[in-house]
C-alpha cells in the first residue's frame, strides 16, 4: 500500500475531504463533507439514516452504530449497507463518552440511534471530535427523546406515502418520500422526492420528466379532441 496517504489524526488530506453518497440523494447532494452532522427525523428517519450511511459504506468505509438495539438489519442490507462492514454497540446504557470517542476515532460513519441521550457537555465534545476526525455523524431522531441539541449541518425530514396497501388487501410495496433538506450548511431549503424503495425494490429519486416544448408553445403529439 505504498500509494495510500498516511493519515495524521486531525489533518485531512485533500482528496479525502468528502464522502460519497448514494445516487438516490443526487438532487440533494452527491457527496458530503467529512465532519458533517446529518440528522434524520420524521416517519422515515431510520431508513434515511441507513441510506445516508450506505453511500460511504459501499465505497469501503465502515459504519458504527451506537444505541440502536432495534435496528432492522434486513432493512439496512436492502438500503445498501454492506453488513460485513457494520459494527454496533446497541444498548444505549453502554454507549459511554469513551465508547463514542473510540467509534469516532475508528470509523468513517457513526450512526447515533434513536435511544441515545447525551449530556450537553458530551454533545459539544462529540461534535468537535467528529469534525476533527472527519467523520460523518448520522443522528436518528424518531421524536422519542433523541437528542436534538446536536446542531445539524444537514437536517433531513420526510413525509412518506406508501403504495401497495389497501383497505384490507395488498401489501406495502413502495414508499415515496418527500424529503426536505435544511440545516446549518444549507442556505436554501431543498426538496426532493425519493423512492425508498420503488415497486421494483430499487432506490431512486423522482426525476422531473422534461416535457419537450415546440417553438410555438404547443405540446407535440397532443391534439384537441372535440
Amino acid at each position: 500500500m505504498a500509494l495510500s496517504v498516511p493519515v495524521v489524526p486531525g489533518v485531512i488530506t485533500a482528496p479525502e475531504r468528502t464522502l460519497p453518497m448514494l445516487p438516490v440523494f443526487a438532487e440533494l447532494f452527491t457527496t458530503v463533507q467529512r465532519g458533517t452532522v446529518a440528522a434524520c427525523s420524521g416517519v422515515a428517519a431510520g431508513s434515511l439514516a441507513l441510506a445516508l450511511a450506505a453511500g460511504p459504506a459501499q465505497e469501503g468505509s465502515w459504519v458504527a452504530v451506537a444505541g440502536w438495539p432495534a435496528l432492522g438489519l434486513a432493512a439496512a442490507a436492502e438500503l445498501g449497507v454492506p453488513l460485513d462492514r457494520l459494527v454496533a454497540v446497541p444498548y444505549p446504557r453502554q454507549v459511554t463518552d469513551e465508547v463514542l470517542a473510540a467509534m469516532i476515532d475508528g470509523f468513517d460513519v457513526v450512526v447515533l440511534g434513536p435511544d441515545i441521550r447525551l449530556r450537553s457537555a458530551s454533545v459539544r465534545r462529540v461534535q468537535a471530535r467528529a469534525q476533527a476526525r472527519g467523520v460523518l455523524l448520522v443522528v436518528v431522531d424518531t421524536g422519542r427523546g433523541a437528542d436534538r441539541s446536536l446542531s445539524a449541518d444537514l437536517q433531513l425530514t420526510a413525509e412518506s406515502t406508501w403504495s401497495g396497501l389497501g383497505e384490507g388487501y395488498g401489501v406495502a410495496q413502495a414508499r415515496r418520500l418527500d424529503v426536505q433538506l435544511s440545516g446549518r450548511r444549507v442556505p436554501r431549503r431543498r426538496r426532493s422526492t425519493l423512492w425508498l424503495p420503488d415497486a421494483h425494490g430499487v432506490l431512486r429519486h423522482d426525476q422531473p420528466v422534461p416535457v419537450p416544448v415546440s417553438p410555438d408553445g404547443a405540446r407535440p403529439g397532443i391534439t384537441a379532441v372535440a
Binding site: S4, L73, D84, R85, V87, A88, V99, L165, Q173
Partner: protein
Amino acid sequence: MSLVATRLAVLWLPHWSVAAAGCRHDEAMVVLHGNRVVACSRSATEQGVAVGMRRRQAQSRCPSAQIVDHDPGRDARQFEAVLSVVTAYAPRLEVVEPGLLTFAARGPARYFGGEQAMAARIHAAVTEHLGGRSAAAGGCGLGLADGRFAALLAARRAVADGHPLIVVPGHQTTIDFLAPMPVSTLQHGGVPGDVVALFPQLGIRRLGELAALPPTHLLARFGDAGAHAHALASGNGDRPPNAHDPPPGYTVRHLFDEPVAHVDTVVFAARRLVNDMVAGLADEGRMCTRLLVTAETEHGERSEREWYRPTGFSVAAMVERIRWQMDAWVSHLDPGEAATAGITLLRLEPTEVRSDGGVQLGLWGGRSQADDWAQRAVARLVSLSEGDCAQVFVPAGAGGRQPSDAYSWTSAATADLTDAQERLADIAGPWPGQLPRPSPAVVPARPVAIEVHDAAGHCVAVSGRGVVSAPPSSVTISGRRRRVERWAGPWPIDERWWDSARARRSARFQVLTDDGALFLVAVERQQWLLLAEYA
C-alpha cells in the same frame, strides 16, 4: 520424497455435535447450522437423514427428530471430557476440531503392550465414557497408520467396522491401504475442494490412480494443491507442503498482574497475543498450522493443549480455540484437572508453521486498508468493554420468517471480521410466509404489547380460520392512539408447531396510520403485538 512417517493414531467421533447436545442412544436428533444438517444421531440416520440436508427435508424424513442448534462452544466444552479420558493413555494430544483428535502412537503402544492392545483399551475407555451417547453419535473410530492422512482415513473406516483399524507399518502397506479410497477423501487432508472435484472429471477416481501419475505433472497442472494431493495419495504427505518447524522466538506469553477468573478477560489478552504472533509470522511470510496453548493458575495447575489446522490458523480461529480450551478448563467439566484459582499465565507457541500464500490487498473492493483500521477500532471498542464483554456486536445471518429472525447480532470479540461471508451466509433458504420487501428499519428485540380496536371500540379479533372480526380503525402504541388509514392482512403464520415450548401461532397485519407511519403488528393468543415499524 521419502520421509520416515510417524505412527499416528486418530480418534474420530463422526457426529460429535449430537453427543455433545446430550442425545441418548435411540433418540432421533438433528443438529442444524444455517438451516442445514451438520450432524444427526444414528436413529435419524436410519430414517434417512444425512449431513447437508435442509431442515425441511430432514424433518419430512424424520418428523420426530429433536432439532438442536449448532454450538461449536458446547461441542468443544463437552469434548474436553473425552480428551481427559484419552490423556490417561496418551498424554500428548493434538485437537483438530471437537470430535477429532490425533496423538503419536509409538509411546503409548509400547507402554500398553502393542498397538492392538492400546487401541482396544482407548476405544473401550472412550466408548464407556460416552455410554449411550456413543451409539447415538454414530460410534467412535480409532485408526492407526503411518502419517496423519492414512490414520484419518483408517479412523473413518473404523467407524463403520465398529472396532479400531490398524494399518501395518511400512510404506507399501500404507500405499495399499490408500489406493482403493475415492479421491474425494483428499478433502480431509486439506486439499481444496475445487481441485478434488476436478479429479473425477479427469477420470481419476481412486487415490491409487492419482499416486501412479508423475508428481511433476500434478505440480505443473494444479500447483501446490496438486503436489500436496499426490503426496497424500502416495502416503508421503504427513505435512502440508512447505510446512516446517518454526524457528524459535515466536512463542508469546502474557503474565497477568492479578489472577484472572473470567474467561473473557483471558480471551481478550489472548487476542492481543495472537495478533502479535500472527503479525510476527506474517512479516516472514509464514502462517501457523499447529499451536500449543498453555495456561497456568495461581495454584500451579496447568492446561496444555495442542491445536492443529491443516489450512493454517487465522487470528479468529486461534482465539476461538483458546476460548474453547479455557471454557472447558474453567467450567470444571473434569473435576480432576479443573482450575481452582485464577489464571496467571498464558503462553502460545506455534509448533508448526508453513509459508503463507499471502493476501493481496484489493485495489478495487476486497480487503482494504480501511478494513485493517476498522479492525483495530473494533479491538479498541472491545477493550473498552472489558469485563462487561459482548457489548460490541456485528451482524450474523440467522434466517427466519419474522423480521427479527433474519439476522442476529454476534459478539465482535470472537467474530471473524476479515471474512464475514461465513457469518452472513445463512439467511438464504426459502422462508415461506416471510413478508416481501421492503423490510422494516426498526425491529424491537421483543415485541411490544399494543391494542387494536375497530370502529365500534371493540378489540379486533382473528378467528382460528383467519377471519378478522372487524376492520381495525385505531391502534394504541405506548399509550398513544393513532387512527388507521389503510391496512392489510391477516397473514397467518404457524411456526414450530412440533415443539410445544417454542411454537408460535400468529396472524400478521400491516397498518398504516394517519401520521404516515407503517407498522407491522401481529395478534398472538388474543394479544396484539408490535413487531416492527417501517421507520
